[in-house]
Amino acid sequence: MKYLSVVWAVARKDLLVEMRTLERLTAMGAFSVLIGVLFHFSIDTSLIRVQTIAPSLIWMATIFVGMLGLGRIYTIEDENRALSGLLQSPISLDALYFGKVLSNSILLLSIVVLILVVFAVFFNLSFPGGWLGWISLSGVILLGVLSFVSIMTLLSAVAVNNTMGESIIPVLVLPLLVPIVIHTVTATNRIFANRPFAEIEGNLRMLAAIVLIFLVAGASLFRFAIEE
């Protein structure tokens, strides 16, 4: 219970700081809308039916926004050396990792909701699925976001005390996102096409496996990435 209360304390602290500053949320929110604008002008809607490529656009936007916002996961710890304070306390570092994954997943999930709304409006999207479709979509989004955030939480620690700063993160993270993109986009495409759940199940299983692998690897390797 103490372990979970530490995880929650870390997540709560992150979210409280973010609510007070709104720095990352503002940047990520603005980016979500503006990327939708750019997508609109980059697609010839007389040639392409946007409904068919909407899942790709949604997930690409999520990844770009995630890179922008999650690259700064440790910035608040960098000011005043708060990270040293965390490292000098008797918590286990994987609790710190899970706390960060939790807070950043909540942050990114709220942005994904914004992206869905914005893109639905900008591209006049329709969602043919019933309640099962919405549940499946929620599942895909949750697993997709969790797998992305788990890897970002580990590799963003690299940017701390690095001469390249946050610009190194895309080089490290993007190759690793390929399996996540494949399964989230395929599943979302099928959900938008109102395909039966049996066709989506495999993607969900694969995403769940990816989440598990990345969370276990992240928690195990985190202390090597974060220790001074």
Binding site: E79, S89, I91
Partner: protein, 238 residues
């Protein structure tokens, strides 16, 4: 008397440089050791080893004869550390910061402890102001509160007076002095001879990772210690 804090022949290298080189000392409860030395002497690295944040390459550190392991969480709950950086979140209030640390240290009755600690340090009235809006002096007292909240046996202070005006320094000095009466063991790293000698029971000069001078503080006068410091460093080739 069994020493409270013991360092036995500890060494640590970074990229081939010996940051800490064979340092040993014993401190009893209620004693304060002041460490002086030029920049790059390895003083901060020494404190990090004592705090259990960095593992030494050789040697060992023990508190009440319990040996430190870097992953020993029990050890970290017995240490408090204050540096010139607050390790606090500017966007949270003093109370919120301390509540967060209380959770990390799994403290009972955190609200009462926080109130007591802040009252002792004279910062209770600032409890609900954001840390970023506080003066440097209040921030440093809040940092001390953070370090003392879990009632550590050993307190490590790394340039705690940095950036403080005279009045704030005085207040901090009084607080540190009161800690010794509480049977805590204190290690103080400072560039200020006056502040370091005022409260020290023992003194050490660290240069190039080694203690090049150690001894009891036998009432050194300021100029006397300055001469000793300069001569010692000259002999070391500075």
């Amino acid at each position: 008397m069994i020493p409270r804090l013991q360092a036995e022949d500890i060494s640590r290298s970074f990229a081939g440089t010996r940051a800490v080189d064979g340092i040993s000392f014993d401190l009893n409860s209620g004693e304060l050791l002041s460490i002086f030395g030029p920049n790059g002497a390895g003083k901060t690295t020494l404190l990090k080893i004592l705090a259990g944040v960095i593992r030494p390459d050789e040697g060992r550190v023990s508190v009440d004869q319990n040996v430190v392991e870097v992953s020993e969480r029990l050890w970290r709950s017995q240490i408090g550390i204050v540096t010139h950086q607050t390790m606090l979140y500017d966007q949270l209030s003093g109370r919120e910061n301390l509540l967060f640390y209380a959770k990390l240290f799994d403290l009972e009755d955190p609200e009462d402890r926080i109130r007591e600690t802040m009252k002792t340090l004279g910062i209770l009235e600032m409890a609900d102001r954001f840390v970023g809006s506080l003066s440097r002096g209040f921030q440093q007292r809040l940092t001390l509160a953070r370090a003392l909240l879990h009632d550590p046996k050993v307190l490590l202070l790394d340039e705690p007076y940095a950036g403080l005006d005279l009045y704030a320094s005085r207040l901090l000095r009084d607080r540190i002095n009161s800690l010794k009466d509480g049977n805590r063991t204190v290690v103080l790293v400072t560039h200020s001879f006056e502040q370091g000698l005022e409260l020290a029971d023992r003194v050490a000069i660290q240069a190039r990772g080694r203690f090049v001078f150690t001894g009891l503080n036998e009432g050194f006068r300021l100029t006397e210690f300055e001469h000793l410091y300069c001569n010692t460093l000259q002999e070391c080739g500075f």
